[in-house]
Structures are given as C-alpha cells and as structure tokens.
C-alpha cells in the first residue's frame, strides 16, 4: 500500500475530528473522500501531509511510519482548497517552487514548468501574475504546482470547490484523464458527490471523523451503507421499516424488497426512479406538492393522503403531473434498498 492510515485519531480539545480512521490507498489509485463540512476530511489530508499531528494511530507511506517526519520531507503533494498561490510570485515562480526546494537546476526547472503549464492547459503563462488569473486558471496553476515535484501521493482539498459548474464538469474529466495518463496516486476530498463519483476509483464517505462507507462509486451509489450515506447522496426517500423475508412494512404500506435483504427493523431507501406514478385509484394515493426540473427528469414531491412521510419520484419530462394533481404510486423492487 502506498498510503495506510491505522486508527488515525486527531482531537481538537476533547472533540475527535478524526476518530480511529483506517484507510488504504494503493499505487495509481484515485480515492475520493466524500463528506459534509466538518466531517474531518480536510483534517485527514492535513494529517497525511504532516501539517496536523496525530493524537494517536499511524500514517504510513510506502510502509514507513511517518511519525516525526516533517511535512517538507514526506514527498506528498497537497492542493489547497483556495489554492494558496504565493501572491508575490508569478505563475512560473509558483509552479517551479517545489522544484526549487528540491534543488532542481534552473534550466531543468524552466523546461519542467513549461511542460506542466502545457499539461494543465496554460501554455506560456509562466510570466503572468497570479492576481490576474481567473478562478479556473488559479486552479490549474495550483495543480501544476502540486504536480511539479512529482509527489508519490497527490492530495486535493475540494479541488473544484469554487469553480462554476460547466468548468467544474470539464475539469473533472480533464483531471481524471490526466491522472490516468500520469499514473498519479490521488487522495481527494470533496463534499460534492458528483465530483467524487466522476473522479474516483473508490469513494470513502466520512461522517463525524469516521468512515461510514468505502467502495467503488457504483457500489456506494447502489447500496448506501446506512441512512446517513443515503441522505448525504441526496436520497430523501428513507423511512423506518420492518423487514420480514422479501416484504417490508413501512409508513408507505407494504413494499417489496430484494431477496437476501437484511431482516428486522431497519431504514429503507426507495430511489426516486423506483417510485412510479399510476392512476389515482391504484397503489398509495398521493398529492403532488412540487415539481423541480432537473434537466434529464422532473423531481416530483408527493404527499401521501394518509399523512405519511413525503416522498420523491423521478418522472420523465413529459409525464410529470401538475402541482395539486391526485396520483397513485407504486414501488419498483429493483430501486429499493434496505439500509444497514
């Protein structure tokens, strides 16, 4: 393993910010830590970088314990949330900084800087002032700067946090492609699930300093480990249920669940795509309370007539009913997940 965290714990005062975290990152793997703000994901990066001392536990890089190794000797790169470009240096000076710290001679440095700027799509920008750069350009410079000393592990803290949506979506693809090409090992943290799923080979969801779930984007998306992960991923159709065999007793009535689901009292998730709207006299009767256009579909908010918890359905654009319409709902077993 390139990076291993073993029971890594950091406390601010008495509050654990990282609580006995175990995490492995293999070489060439792109791992994204996903979590709401305050879940400890930035602290995780800082602990690996050596900027935040551990209260207990260990950080290993290439199998070597990093206790007592200062940040500048760990050979990892960290791209900061708001870039933290050096304001008094130009673009080239920023990118070449790490090379200079590692004693790379000037000629080589300049060549390398030029190549990196080409790589991140800013050819010939070396002499520009960082204050004159747009957010996206700063982002690219920060990336080039972090990549320059060829860190064995590149860490990104909210890499695309402050950029506008279209730029973000383009950059995610570019980054993914770039890391694949360079074979970089990446540990990124973000609060944006779309970003995490698009970037990562593996997603790690954090909650209150602990790892709530770890898996491929598909695994996490299809089978959220618990109610917290499900809700964090944007799923709101979560209700308490009593599962017996392949039937779950819920406030929405008896719902079918996949075979082999965990049994007993557990939260249950119905993905919006699994809520089908049918004629008003069939299934669970509901009233449409709101419609939100989502680009590829319309999210329809439904209030069951019996006063049960609201639910959300994903409708095709032309099928979405008007607000106030009485509809019936049925549930698709393939989109129902019994949570842990």
């Amino acid at each position: 393993m390139l990076l291993s965290l073993q029971a890594a714990t950091v406390r601010f005062g008495r509050r654990p910010v990282l609580d006995a975290v175990d995490l492995d990152v293999a070489e060439h793997e792109v791992v994204c830590v996903l979590g709401p703000s305050g879940s400890g994901k930035s602290t995780l990066l800082r602990a690996v970088a050596g900027l935040q001392p551990l209260g207990s536990g260990r950080v290993l890089l290439d199998g070597r314990d990093q206790a007592g190794v200062p940040a500048h000797r760990r050979g990892v790169g960290l791209m900061f949330q708001d870039h933290q470009l050096f304001p008094q240096r130009d673009v080239g000076g920023n990118v070449a900084f790490g090379l200079r710290m590692h004693g790379v001679p000037k000629g080589e440095r300049d060549a390398e800087t030029g190549q990196l700027l080409d790589l991140v799509g800013l050819p010939g920008a070396a002499r520009r002032a960082v204050a004159a750069l747009s957010g996206g350009e700063q982002q690219r410079v920060a990336l080039a700067r972090a990549l320059a000393p060829r860190p064995r592990l590149l860490m990104l803290d909210e890499p695309l946090g402050q950029l506008d949506r279209s730029l973000r979506e383009r950059l995610v693809v570019e980054l993914r492609e770039l890391f694949g090409r360079l074979g970089t090992t990446v540990l990124a943290v973000t609060h944006d699930q779309g970003e995490a799923f698009a970037l990562a080979d593996r997603v790690v969801v954090m909650r209150d300093g602990r790892i709530a779930q770890s898996g491929t984007p598909l695994e996490v998306w299809q089978r959220p480990a618990d109610e917290f992960v499900a809700r964090f991923l944007g799923f709101d159709n979560v209700v308490p249920a009593t599962v017996a065999d392949t039937v779950a007793n819920t406030p929405w009535g008896k719902l079918p669940v996949p075979e082999g689901s965990p049994q007993g009292n557990r939260p249950l998730l119905v993905r919006p795509a699994g809520v089908r709207l049918v004629a008003a006299d069939e299934g669970l009767p509901c009233t449409v309370t709101a419609r939100t256009f989502k680009g590829t579909h319309v999210a329809v908010r439904l209030q069951p007539a019996d006063g049960g918890p609201r639910l959300e359905a994903a409708c095709a654009l032309r099928d979405a009913p008007e607000t106030g319409t009485e509809v019936g709902t049925e549930f698709d077993v393939a989109e129902i997940v019994v949570l842990g």
Binding site: H72, R73, F80, F97, R145, P149
Partner: protein, 533 residues
C-alpha cells in the same frame, strides 16, 4: 527566542537594575522607605500628574491630526508621495534638543509667530503638545498607514454591497482591522510623550516637568541618586502597566487579515472630499512639520557664505577633539551597526511571537520588549556605564557600546512594525510551501520574508533613524573624541555665542538631510519589486 531574551537581559535589565541598586542600596541594605517619601512629595506628585495628562493630550492630538494622513498615504496616489513620506518621518529622528529649539524659534519670544502676529506659545502647554505631535506624526502615519495600504479594499466594498454606508463600512470593516495598528501607534506615542525629555526640558521652562526631566535633574544637577532611582522605578511601573493593558487589547483583537499588495490599493483622489482631505493633510504637514524644519535651516544659513557650515570642518580643540563634521561618519557607522543588531534581535523576537502556538510566556515577552522604550534613556545610558565596565563584560572602551544602546531602543520598533504583518500572513501559505518541500527556515525565507519585506524595510528604517537621533543614552556613553551628531549638537548648544548656536543649527540640518536621504533610499528600495528578495 533565546538570543533576544539574552540580549535584553544583559543590555537592558542588568544596567537598569544596577543603577536602581546604586540609588536605593545604602551600605548593603535596601532603603525602600525612600519610595514612599519621594512619591508623596507635592512637587513630585505634580510632576506625575502633568506627565500623565500631557501624554494623553499629546496622543489624542497626534491621532487626530495624523490618522487622516495615514489614510491619505495608504489609499491615495499623488505625485511626490514618497518624498513626502520621508519628509514626514524626518522629525521623528531629529534630536529632541534641536526640535525644542526649533519650536522655540517658531512660537517663542522673537519667533516667527511673535514677529508676525505677536503670538507666543512658549509659556503654554501648547508648545509642548505641538512639538510632541511634530515628533510622533510619523509613528501614526507609518504604523497605521503601512497596514492600511495592504488591507484588501474589497472587504469594504463587500460591506457596501450589504447595505452599509461608506462611513459605516469603514467603521465596521476597516476600523476593526486597523485597531491593532492604531493601538500600537497610540501606545508608542503615549510612551514617547510620557517619557519626553528634550522637548519638555526646553519648552517646559520651570512650570512644566515630566518624570524623565525630573530624573535627569535629580541625576545630573541635584546628584540625588536615590530620588532618581525611585522615579525610575515609578516610571518603570507606569510604563509596565501601560504595556500590560496594551498587550491585552492587542491580543484580544488578533485576527488574520487579508493583505494585498500595497501598490494596488492606492488610487488617484476622486471627488471633492478626497481632494479636500489631501489638501488638509498637506497643509497640516506644511505648518506643523515643514515650518519648524524650515526655520531651523533658515537659522543655519544666517552667517554669510555658509559660515556656520565651514566652521564645522575645523577642529577648534575646545568643544571637540575632532572637527564636528566627523560626527556625521561616526553617527552613520553607529547607526548601521545598531540597525543590524536591532533588526536581528527584533526580527527573531517578532518571528517567535508571531507563531500561533506561541505560549503565554513568549507572549508576555511581547510586552517586555517594549520596556526599553519607556524606561528613561538617561537611566539606561548611565546604567551601561555602571554595569558594563567590569569583567566578564567590560565594554566601556568598546565602540559597540553605543550601537548596543541604540539597538535597545530600535529593536522594539522592529518588533512592533513586523509583528502585525507577520501575524497577518496566512498560515496556509506556509503550509503550502512546506508540503512543496520547504524546510521551516526556507518557508520563512520564501514565504514570510517576501510578504514582510516592506515591513522589514520600514522597521530597519525606523531602527536606523532612531539610532541616528538617539540622545539620552548616547550622551552618557559616547566617547568625547567620537561624538554622534545629536551629542555634538547638544554640546554646541550648551556653549554660548552665535557661532556655536549657528553651528548647532548647521549640524542639525546635516543630520536632518542624512536622515531624509536614508529614508528616501528605503522608500526607493520598497518599490523595487523586481527579482526575488
């Protein structure tokens, strides 16, 4: 951290302790009863009262007149700004004796105002207050203006967009950010005026006397060392109390500020308000700072054919063993050495104090560093002679003694100027450098230094200027054959005759020009942004 502590222990604490001991220890026993006796004397109590209220009034007046100038220098761009900035700083480094005389020539009997309108202020406290403003104008302009110039204007703009009026935005956003700097400046002004010596000595006459003047009188006129020692302690305690309050207020307001390059925040004046403000500041500077200096220069030229200046090149053998002009080189050498020491000691101390994980003990040192400013320079100079003249540290014959004493006064300036800026450097920039492979030392050199270079230069300029103008301590320890400029001026002034007086004026003019030149060089350096440090 160890180096600054040792420096202040050996060259400050020890000499002061030595002289207090000499005053209060009779036949090996401490005479603490003396303290109560001295403090309850009516004339001493009068001195204490006057010292305090004139310092408060001077501080308030200085802030009132200089804060608009701090704004003008920070946010407005106009031709001749750099020259003007140097001009404003010159008074601060002039020997107090010269300033006192210049003000006497301006507002005293037969002075300019007397000639023109028959107005005399030399018997009132106004002369002292105005001279104090003259001195300390630069403290406020440079300390507050330096930070102000680097505050991001967009913060204020954000407040405007949130519905704040310009005044309210300034009050709610800029003012709080400036408060530590204003507090630091006000503290300095208060300390200087609280311990004011030369100005009060000359303009105060028999009516007005500060603690420092009284200490000097007791030491060198009445030869009552024990009263002087008690007063030194009183001043020490008072200054300590002020510093404690200051440290407390500053600590409560420590915040990371968003600093930007000073060159992007200044704009051409726009609108009647800004032009009026600029004009007002220029008029204030002309009347308050330039006019006394002009009177000084005018007087130095009174003799035909630059007679006073030519007289300076002669070693007359009476007042001096060398030509008075030689004092220029002596002063420059001492000042350079003192600046190096002050920047080293002050820089190290500031760096240690700026660390966010600095403990209480280290923070306490922040206040201690300021003490040399508040303790009677007379005491320090005399203490040097008593404490540092025997092994293991016999420096009495060494030239380094003078720069050491001057650095003692200069180092607190360095700390005060550097600390706000160092504390405002975003810690994550340092982390970014560390992650890119910079060792702690290189982080300091690559991140902190370029960002604080401006502050460092200003600090060095202050230290240099203070060293050039330092009088109270130097007068005790400078060797007779090697006087510094202020000492030479004072010696000339103490002798009767027009020629000596004229020479003093001429030498003061030279000191002024040297200071102005040094400051101008610094101003140039400051704007030279090519290359890495």
């Amino acid at each position: 951290m160890a180096l600054p502590v040792a420096f202040f222990a050996v060259f400050f604490a020890w000499p002061v302790a030595a002289i207090v001991a000499r005053g209060l220890k009779v036949d090996g026993t401490w005479q603490f009863g003396r303290m109560a006796d001295v403090v309850t004397q009516p004339d001493i109590r009068h001195v204490l009262w006057f010292t305090t209220w004139q310092a408060l009034a001077s501080t308030a007046l200085t802030l009132l007149l200089a804060l608009p100038a701090a704004y003008v220098f920070a946010r407005l761009d106009f031709p001749g700004k750099q020259v003007l900035r140097a001009v404003v700083t010159v008074p601060f480094v002039l020997p107090t004796v010269v300033v006192g005389t210049a003000f006497l020539a301006l507002v005293g009997r037969g002075g300019l105002l007397d000639d023109l309108w028959g107005v005399r202020l030399d018997t009132t406290v106004w002369a002292i207050l105005l001279a104090h403003v003259f001195f300390n104008y630069a403290v406020v302009v440079r300390t507050v203006g330096g930070l102000w110039a680097q505050l991001d204007p967009r913060q204020e703009q954000a407040a405007r967009m949130l519905g704040a009026s310009p005044l309210r935005a300034w009050r709610k956003v800029t003012l709080p950010a400036l408060v530590p700097a204003v507090a630091a400046a006000a503290l300095m002004v208060f300390l200087f005026t609280f311990t004011s010596f030369g100005v009060v000595q000359i303009l105060g006459g028999p009516t007005f006397s500060t603690l420092e003047v009284e200490i000097y009188r007791q030491t060198s006129e009445v030869f009552d060392l024990s009263t002087a020692a008690v007063l030194t302690l009183v001043q020490f305690v008072a200054v300590g109390a002020i510093l404690a309050v200051h440290a407390w207020t500053v600590r409560r307001r420590e915040t990371a500020l968003r600093l930007v390059d000073a060159s992007v925040t200044a704009r051409r004046p726009r609108g009647a308000g800004q032009w009026a403000l600029l004009a007002g500041v220029l008029v204030t500077i002309s009347l308050l700072l330039v006019l006394p200096l002009a009177v000084l220069v005018r007087r130095s030229l009174d003799a035909p054919g630059l007679g006073y200046y030519r007289a300076l090149t002669n070693a007359d053998g009476g007042t001096f063993l060398v030509a008075p002009l030689h004092a220029v080189w002596t002063s420059l050498e001492y000042a350079v050495a003192a600046t190096v020491i002050a920047v080293l000691i002050g820089g190290l101390a500031a760096a240690a104090l700026a660390r966010r994980d600095a403990g209480r003990l280290v923070r306490g040192f922040d206040a201690l560093l300021m003490l040399p400013l508040g303790v009677s320079a007379v005491t320090v100079g005399f203490g040097f002679l008593i404490a540092l003249d025997k092994p293991p540290l016999d420096l009495r014959q060494s030239w380094i003694l003078v720069p050491l004493a001057q650095a003692l006064v200069g180092a607190p300036f360095v700390v005060r100027t550097m600390l706000p800026v160092l504390r405002a450097v975003d810690g994550r920039l340092r982390e970014a450098a560390a992650v890119l492979g910079a060792s702690p030392w290189r982080v300091w050199r690559e991140v902190d230094l370029p960002l604080v270079r401006r502050a460092l230069l200003i600090a060095a300029g202050f230290a240099f200027a203070v060293s050039l103008g330092e009088f109270g301590a130097t007068v005790f320890i400078a060797r007779p054959d090697n006087p510094t400029l202020p000492v030479a001026v004072a010696r000339l002034l103490s002798r009767p005759g027009d020629l000596n007086y004229g020479q003093a004026m001429a030498l003061s003019t030279i000191l002024m020009v040297v200071c102005a030149a040094a400051l101008l060089v610094l101003e140039r350096l400051r704007t030279d942004r090519t290359g890495e440090f």
